[in-house]
């Protein structure tokens, strides 16, 4: 379709990365004082704020499960987050689907049986969307949940991967995302070795698919050490404050 050259003859991508390179990740926990857990995460130019409240008394009586807690996810994308100013309404189908995906991912990983008849709320706010909104949201939610002291099997690390002209590429940005090339989102539990989410909305040849997923999984493993450092830094800071 577009005449845009997404991979240069030297093998570099449009933002200067190599095909198997993640974008720069900066994150911080304890950013909101009222929430039980919170995190701010930047993956390249994608910026997400996550807040976790709970586990607490359920406010939606109809959703109560008697033997475990349920997770509710509210996803919101700021009107100024993309190149074109556009307001998404609250009941927007795409936002709802994204929220539902995140909820399903975490209900499998959070040890919800420890808190029967309770509710965990995750609020996500996208401040800037530059591709990979879903993985960034999952990573930010993971940080916020860990920060809230909610037990989980492992970090849920998410990463997107795609394929341009049969070259698998990692962590795709907005330009690559909108270039009509297929992309896959992988959420992986690195220590457990299980896939929590695998989402693809395009068609991809089975041989390429395998390579793309393998690349995405590698990205997730790299992501884990980055998220781990963020959590440890946040904890160390609190420990220092408590003891010095």
């Amino acid at each position: 379709m577009s005449r845009l050259e997404l991979i240069s003859p030297e093998g570099l991508r449009i933002d200067g990365r190599r095909p198997n390179e993640l974008r720069k990740l900066t994150a911080k926990v304890n950013v909101l004082s009222q929430a039980d857990g919170s995190a701010y995460l930047e993956q390249g130019n994608t910026k997400v704020l996550a807040a976790v409240y709970g586990p607490g008394e359920p406010r939606q009586r109809s959703k109560v499960v008697h033997d475990r807690s349920f997770i509710s996810v509210e996803f919101n994308i700021a009107p100024f987050s993309a190149g074109e100013r556009r307001k998404r309404t609250k009941g927007d189908k795409r936002s709802l689907e994204l929220a539902y995906t995140i909820k399903e991912t975490f209900e499998a990983v959070v040890i919800t049986t420890q808190f029967p008849r309770s509710q965990i709320n995750i609020y996500l706010q996208v401040l800037q969307a530059d591709g990979g909104t879903l993985p960034a949201c999952i990573n930010a939610s993971t940080l916020a949940l860990v920060n809230a002291g909610i037990p989980m099997l492992d970090y849920v690390c998410a990463c997107s991967a795609g394929s341009i002209e049969k070259t698998p590429i990692l962590d795709i940005n907005y330009v690559e995302e909108s270039s009509d090339s297929p992309d896959v989102t992988v959420a992986y539990l690195p220590k457990v070795g299980k896939v929590a989410l695998l989402q693809m909305e395009a068609r991809l040849h089975i041989d390429v698919f395998e390579k793309v997923v393998a690349l995405g999984t590698d990205g997730c493993i790299e992501m884990r050490s980055k998220l781990d450092t963020v959590i440890r830094q946040g904890m160390q800071q609190l420990v220092n404050q408590l003891e010095q």
Partner: protein
């Protein structure tokens, strides 16, 4: 309204320690979710851990980010920040959220609302009085939605719900003051959670992180010496369940003192310091350098009074 902006500041540098822990010596090791703690099968798994049976041999793994604590053979992970989990005998401050059949629901900042049964409060007319149907019908005259009270954790129901009681003269509806929330981690178990500060302010430090700051009540208040004889059991219903602040109106100075103590507690919580009566007094003294109470909400002032209070704590 005056608005002031402060420049952004870099967070203080922190060094992060990595590496495997030694179960026998290392007591303050930090682990994160999914990290293995030990494969030694002699240990029992406690809170915040799980046994990963997919690997061979099975490995004890952490499910939380926190410090590993070992009590004999029991290994558990204590998170730095988490919701309050009650223990029997804990003094908590809570707020009534619902009035139900023979019971109140109380928000104590825990994983679910706590329950206060009609049978576990002191009814007007003496401890020995039987509970009547009329009491059930007028439960709102004792506690209504929004009321703040101090209570003790009596027991737990089978599903883990906290059961409170107020069967003591210390526990009652709270008036004449103001409510502050701090992380529950910052309030440690002590002999007493009711404090009268020299500045004419009472503080109740709930173990759940809810704090009540009020004007010291002198006449007929709960800090009176225990009355002798039969009177000890008799509960003055008017006093315990009244919805009115003290008859003699609280004057401006008293209000300011309460507000100042509230702000001092908020400042200590902001700087993540353990909160007890001694450090509150020191913070209060340090805060007197700022005549305007609202100045205590400024970031640099918070830091200053916390630092000064903490220095005094260490020297004392």
């Amino acid at each position: 309204m005056q608005v002031s902006f402060s420049a952004p500041r870099a967070a203080p540098p922190v060094t992060v320690h990595h590496g495997d822990m030694d179960m026998d010596t290392d007591q303050t090791h930090i682990v994160t979710p999914g990290e293995s703690i030990t494969s030694d099968m002699q240990y029992m798994r406690g809170h915040g851990t799980r046994l990963d049976e997919s690997s061979d041999p099975p490995i004890l793994t952490s499910t939380l980010a926190g410090h590993v604590s070992r009590v004999n053979k029991l290994v558990s992970v204590k998170p730095l920040k988490a919701r309050y989990t009650g223990d029997i005998g804990d003094i908590v401050v809570g707020r009534i959220v619902d009035v139900g059949q023979k019971r109140w629901k109380v928000d104590i900042g825990s994983k679910g609302d706590a329950v206060l049964q009609l049978s576990s409060i002191n009814l007007p007319g003496g401890v020995q009085r039987r509970k009547l149907e009329s009491d059930e019908k007028q439960m709102r005259t004792f506690f209504a939605e929004g009321d703040v009270l101090v209570a003790e954790v009596q027991s737990f129901f089978a599903d883990g719900v906290c059961n409170l009681h107020t069967r003591s003269l210390n526990f009652c509806k709270l008036r004449n003051g103001s409510f502050v929330v701090v992380p529950p981690r910052l309030i440690q178990r002590t002999r007493s959670h009711f404090h009268s500060l020299p500045c004419g302010v009472d503080v109740i430090l709930g173990l759940n992180g809810y704090v009540w700051v009020s004007k010291t009540v002198r006449k007929g208040g709960r800090h009176n010496e225990t009355k002798v004889g039969l009177d000890e059991d008799a509960v003055d219903a008017e006093m315990v369940y009244s919805n009115k602040n003290e008859a003699s109106a609280i004057n401006k100075d008293e209000r300011l003192a309460v507000a100042r103590v509230c702000n001092c507690i908020a400042a200590l919580a902001h700087e993540f310091k353990y909160i007890n009566d001694t450090i509150i007094v020191y913070a209060y003294e340090a805060s007197l350098a700022y005549p305007d109470v609202q100045d205590l909400l400024k970031l640099n002032v918070m830091e200053h009074i916390t630092r000064e209070a903490y220095e005094q704590m260490k020297n004392a």
